[in-house]
């Protein structure tokens, strides 16, 4: 199977080409959607084969590089179109193709009747191809193609309803913010390439080669610069502070896009990238600290905003930002395995939540459409009591909500608890660890609160939709609910492959699986930090504490939105300023406009009207005129007379020979 790994990104590419070029002519939605889904499903099958073969190998042999074709060879520089298979990329391809297949299937139902149905599937396939390139690339350049490709697809899909101005703006915002991050990625790449080349004559961008040479890297110094640049790239792609504001706006895209790109896969690229280069990141204690602090801050910051949003998708968007913060917290405290584990479980339950919200929106939209009402189909204030109408959606949604809230027995508990425990126990950041752990705990409480607030507002209580159209509310079709059920199932059981050792029922398969990838990083980490000994009692205690925290969050949500409906209003009127600030996302967009956007516009205008029009245009036009004059002059030499040409040649020859002979 390893030899055929190139099929994995190839299938979606074929799907993209077919639907992109011929989709308009095919017209038949079943064929278009079928092709799109089949292609990614084929990739999934190949990925399964790769995984099986990988499992069959002894742990230390689980690295394989497949060169598909030589790409750029120039002097010292060498970049092949090559794929790297190891436990980490295997996890990623399984998530991307597995969740991707389900979301493709779901989209057939969700996008039914949309104009540009083929365009949607073409983009979705193109996205999958890029994402697979990103996670499979065996050198930084291939990874970067994927990195840019997913950004492009994200732009195209956020702006899918491009006739809406808000969608176009959101797409632009996402693209620009990603570009800021990409710039960092490139600088990091160049720094690393240049440092290895000029100091050790190792000119490489290949991950395996960099890993082999990573012992040459110093602690801190240039590594800090390079990794901070890479991390800037990660904050852009994974929506972390300060580059997170694009993700909530990205909800302008169709819901399956939010589920696939802006929850389950693309936004985790930053986490994956740090995991892929863990052996470089860990060499800089400063960067690790920055990663952990940014992650923790994003986790709590986004969680607070999530508590006050009324748009169902926006709550989930802030939740995603917050959960990504948890993953970065894990990476920053050296718990790479736990971070990737949370990436995977998050992909399951967050995709399920988004698709569930899509199912709700679908039903709401359908009902409102019937009554010719223009109420907002995404506003939770218009919902309520939906569990009666949509039992499957409700159940899967509830299960995933329990998972994200961190209730024992569900997948999110295992991964989140692992992160919090390692934040507490891993000694990389001295006294800061306890602070990071504390922030993480509070963020976890907020998570439980806003998620159950969402569930209570949407599915419980009385139905607030216009009574006229109540009868038109009904469960979504099977093509939508089947993916929900599969993902809901995974959201429950997906965590058991990574159960903490402490619980002793199952070994922590997941961590063992990733051990060969992160072994080296852990080794390097020991250079400046020693893992202390913690008693089991402490671990049990903390675990219990995080359960208590989750229950507190749920209880508050229950009290406010189920038991006593007046409480939220009372809260709002008691702390109006606080509520306004949270509701308006702490005014971050306005702050960015003030700090960056407006000054940039002003400076741009200044350059345009002052410098560009007068100086640049003047020089350019002047040079142009000179050359046009020269051109006319040389043209004059071209008389058309053969004897003139012969004379020219003779003169040329004579001058050349004379210069050489008589010098």
């Amino acid at each position: 199977m390893f030899e055929n790994v190139w099929l994995i990104p190839l299938f979606p590419l074929i799907g993209f080409l077919i639907n992109g070029f011929f989709g308009k002519k095919i017209k038949n939605e079943a064929v278009i959607g079928g092709i799109g889904t089949l292609m990614i499903f084929l990739s999934f099958l190949v990925s399964c084969g790769v995984l099986m073969q990988l499992i069959g190998l002894p742990a230390e042999q689980r690295v394989f590089e497949k060169v598909v074709f030589p790409w750029i060879h120039c002097g010292n520089f060498k970049a092949d179109m090559a794929f790297l298979i190891d436990p980490l990329s295997a996890v990623m391809i399984m998530v991307v193709t597995g969740v991707g297949s389900l979301i493709h299937l779901y989209s057939i139902g969700y996008m039914h009747g949309e104009e540009g149905f083929y365009r949607f599937f073409a983009y979705l396939n193109l996205f999958c191809m890029s994402m697979l390139l990103l996670v499979l690339g065996s050198n930084m350049l291939v990874m970067f193609i994927g990195w840019e490709g997913v950004g492009l697809c994200s732009y195209l899909l956020i702006g899918y309803y491009f006739e809406k101005k808000s969608a176009g703006d959101a797409a632009k915002k996402a693209f620009v913010m990603n570009r800021v991050g990409d710039f960092g990625f490139l600088i990091g790449l160049f720094t690393l390439y240049w440092w290895f080349g000029s100091n050790h004559n190792i000119w490489t961008i290949n991950f395996v080669e960099i890993k082999a040479a990573s012992h040459l890297l110093p602690y801190g110094g240039v590594v800090t610069i390079a990794t901070l640049c890479f991390f800037l790239g990660a904050t852009g792609k994974s929506a972390q502070l300060p580059l997170y504001t694009w993700l909530p706006d990205a909800m302008e895209g169709p819901t399956p896009v939010s589920a696939l790109i802006h929850a389950a896969t693309m936004v985790t690229a930053g986490v994956y990238m740090i995991g892929r280069m863990s052996f470089v990141f860990i060499k800089s204690p400063e960067t690790m600290m920055v990663v952990a602090v940014v992650g923790a801050c994003t986790a709590i910051f986004a969680a607070t905003i999530g508590t006050a949003q009324n748009d169902i998708k926006r709550v989930l968007a802030y939740s995603t930002v917050s959960q990504l913060g948890f993953m970065f917290l894990a990476m920053g405290v050296g718990a790479f395995g736990a971070g990737i584990f949370h990436l995977m479980t998050h992909a399951f339950f967050k995709a399920c939540l988004f698709l569930g919200s899509g199912s709700v929106i679908h039903a709401m939209h359908h009902a409102l459409h019937h009554g010719h009402l223009h109420d907002d189909a995404q506003d939770m204030r218009n919902m309520g009591g939906l569990k009666k109408y949509m039992p499957i959606t409700f159940l899967t949604f509830l299960v995933s909500t329990i998972a994200i809230a961190g209730i024992p027995g569900f997948s999110g508990f295992f991964s989140k608890d692992e992160i919090l425990w390692q934040a507490f126990a891993n000694p990389y950041h001295g006294g800061l660890n306890i602070v990071l752990w504390g922030i993480g705990c509070i963020a976890a409480m907020f998570t439980a609160f806003y998620m159950f607030r969402l569930v209570f507002m949407t599915f419980f209580g009385e139905c607030r939709i216009n009574p006229k159209v109540k009868d038109h509310l009904h469960e979504s079709p099977l093509v939508i609910t089947i993916p929900l059920m599969v993902l809901g199932f995974l959201a429950v059981v997906g965590g058991y492959i990574g159960m903490p050792k402490l619980m002793g029922m199952l070994p922590n398969y997941f961590e063992h699986w990733l051990d060969p990838v992160f072994e080296l990083a852990n080794e390097y980490g020991k250079e400046y930090a020693h893992v202390g000994h913690h008693t089991h009692a402490l671990e049990w205690g903390l675990m219990g504490l995080s359960v208590v925290i989750a229950v507190i969050g749920i209880t508050i949500a229950f009290t406010m939105y189920m038991a006593n409906n007046k409480l939220p209003e009372k809260f709002t009127s008691t702390f109006p300023a606080l509520h306004r600030a949270v509701y308006n996302k702490w005014y971050m967009d306005e702050l960015y406009d003030f700090l960056f956007v407006n000054p940039c516009k002003g400076f741009g205008n200044l350059l345009w009207k002052g410098f560009d029009v007068v100086v640049v245009d003047g020089i350019v036009n002047g040079v142009g005129k000179i050359f046009m004059g020269l051109s006319a002059g040389i043209r004059g030499l071209q008389t058309g007379y053969t004897h003139n040409y012969a004379l020219g040649m003779t003169l040329g020859a004579v001058v050349i020979v004379a210069l050489y002979i008589f010098r």
Partner: protein, 491 residues
């Protein structure tokens, strides 16, 4: 660096060895057979000659491919079919193939549907192939003459058209003149070293170092450089190019701007790198100046051109200048860049000329840049093809032209010719003006008159398809082709 040296394991070093000239033999036989067939068919059926010659080219191409990696020498070391010559032979065959694909439609339009054109193209190709595999100055000269004589006829092929006549005659006169320089240079080299075998010249010079200060040898080198410069249309020996390219039948212009230029470079490279490595300091200095002059004159003069054939003539002068940059560098990257560039240039330039054939009307009308107004909207697919070719000529990724220039210029930088690379890049930037001007007309101006319905013959469509593929594939995945080019120069 042991580029282009005689490989140690050559089969049958001496005596007659037909394996060493198998592609030439096959193609000559087919060309002669075509001449015979031509007598027996009427003018409606001349297109069959084209199909037959296409088959002949494909067969020859297989013979070229099968020779890869197994160098053959023969005829007392006067011919060497190594990877270097095979790569160039491939390039010639590609350009002949593409040219023939666009010839038929042109001949019918201009009502000069005479069958001789196909054998002539094949004979010219045989000449080019001999130039590429010649390892004796005389073989190279023989190839050059076979090529030139065919080309003189091809340039004046449209004998009812005055401009074509003028082109043929001018090319003949100036070509004969330049041949004089080349032959004189060869004679002087022979006089000072006593041999015409390129490898023997090198070993004579390395054993008798004082011959380097002999003016006769230096003058021989310089005059050969002048002769080759004429063939590749390097300034200041380029003045024939615009007149000939403008007047010659459009498909022949396409052919001349690609194949013979590549052949000139093949012989130029072989003679200077294999025979005269001891004088590299001298000749690279000269090539430096020629490269700068050629690029600059070509690009600057192209800016003002209104006739698109003439514009592409100056553009082809400029491209010879870029290739000279890689030659001047003389290192592995630069030389491989030359090979890579000549092949990709064949695709992009013939592709562009295919569009010119399409847009042109009887009597070589409709060849002005302004005639392309609105073309891109009227014929979106053809417009897109033309844009791809123009982007590639301008050196904009992801076209092959970009990658080719990248290797040429990075070769120069690695060899320490930083200024040469800078001048090259500036020139390339200036060239964007006149390439994009065509696109401005194609997409941003309204047509002044209605376009005729363009009949795209299947063979011309095939040519466009192959050209687009030949521009885009090496542009996006250059690794494989570059690998071949590198294998071609390193034994």
């Amino acid at each position: 660096m042991d580029m282009l040296q005689f490989p140690a394991n050559i089969a049958a070093a001496a005596g007659v060895n037909f394996a060493a000239i198998m592609p030439e033999v096959i193609l000559s036989v087919i060309a002669m057979a075509l001449l015979l067939v031509n007598v027996f068919i009427n003018s409606e059926q001349k297109a069959y000659l084209g199909y037959l010659s296409l088959i002949g080219i494909v067969v020859t191409f297989f013979s070229v491919v099968s020779g890869w990696g197994a160098p053959q020498s023969g005829f007392n070391n006067s011919v060497l079919q190594d990877n270097f010559s095979l790569f160039f032979k491939g390039t010639f065959l590609v350009s002949a193939f593409l040219t023939i694909l666009i010839t038929d439609q042109y001949l019918k339009r201009e009502e000069c549907n005479w069958g001789e054109i196909y054998p002539l193209i094949l004979f010219a190709t045989v000449g080019m192939m001999l130039m590429a595999s010649g390892t004796d100055l005389m073989t190279i000269f023989l190839g050059l003459e076979v090529l030139s004589v065919s080309l003189y006829v091809l340039a004046g092929f449209n004998r009812a058209n005055l401009k074509s006549n003028e082109a043929g005659l001018k090319y003949f006169l100036l070509g004969a003149f330049s041949t004089g320089f080349l032959l004189y240079g060869m004679a002087l080299i022979y006089g000072s070293t006593g041999t015409t075998r390129v490898a023997a010249i090198a070993s004579y010079i390395s054993q008798n170092g004082m011959v380097l200060s002999n003016p006769m040898l230096v003058a021989g080198m310089l005059l050969m450089a002048v002769g080759f410069s004429f063939k590749i249309a390097a300034a200041p020996f380029h003045m024939w190019t615009p007149d000939v390219y403008e007047g010659a039948p459009t498909p022949m212009t396409a052919f001349m701007s690609v194949g013979p230029k590549a052949a000139g470079f093949a012989a130029f490279l072989r003679v200077f790198i294999v025979a005269l490595p001891a004088m590299k300091a001298d000749w690279s200095e000269l090539l430096w100046v020629l490269a700068v002059l050629t690029m600059t004159v070509g690009n600057i003069t192209a800016l003002k051109q209104t006739n698109i054939k003439r514009m592409l003539a100056y553009s082809s002068i400029a491209h010879a200048g870029y290739v000279l940059v890689g030659f001047t560098a003389g290192n592995a990257v630069g030389t491989a860049g030359v090979l890579f560039y000549m092949l990709s240039y064949a695709f992009m330039n013939i592709g562009a000329f295919a569009i010119i054939v399409l847009v042109g009307r009887k009597g070589e009308e409709n060849n002005n840049v302004s005639d392309y107004a609105g073309f891109g909207f009227k014929h979106p697919v053809l417009g897109m093809c033309m844009s791809i070719f123009l982007f590639s000529l301008a050196g904009i990724p992801p076209a092959a032209g970009f990658i080719g220039k990248f290797y040429l210029f990075s070769g120069a930088i690695q060899a320490g010719y930083v200024w040469l690379a800078i001048i090259g890049v500036l020139n390339s930037a200036a060239s964007v003006y006149y390439y994009l001007r065509v696109m401005v007309f194609m997409y941003m101006k309204d047509p002044t008159e209605e376009f005729d319905w363009l009949a795209v013959s299947p063979s011309l469509a095939l040519c466009l398809l192959l050209s687009v593929a030949g521009v885009l594939i090496p542009g996006i995945v250059p690794g494989t082709l570059l690998d071949l080019a590198q294998k071609a120069i390193l034994m």
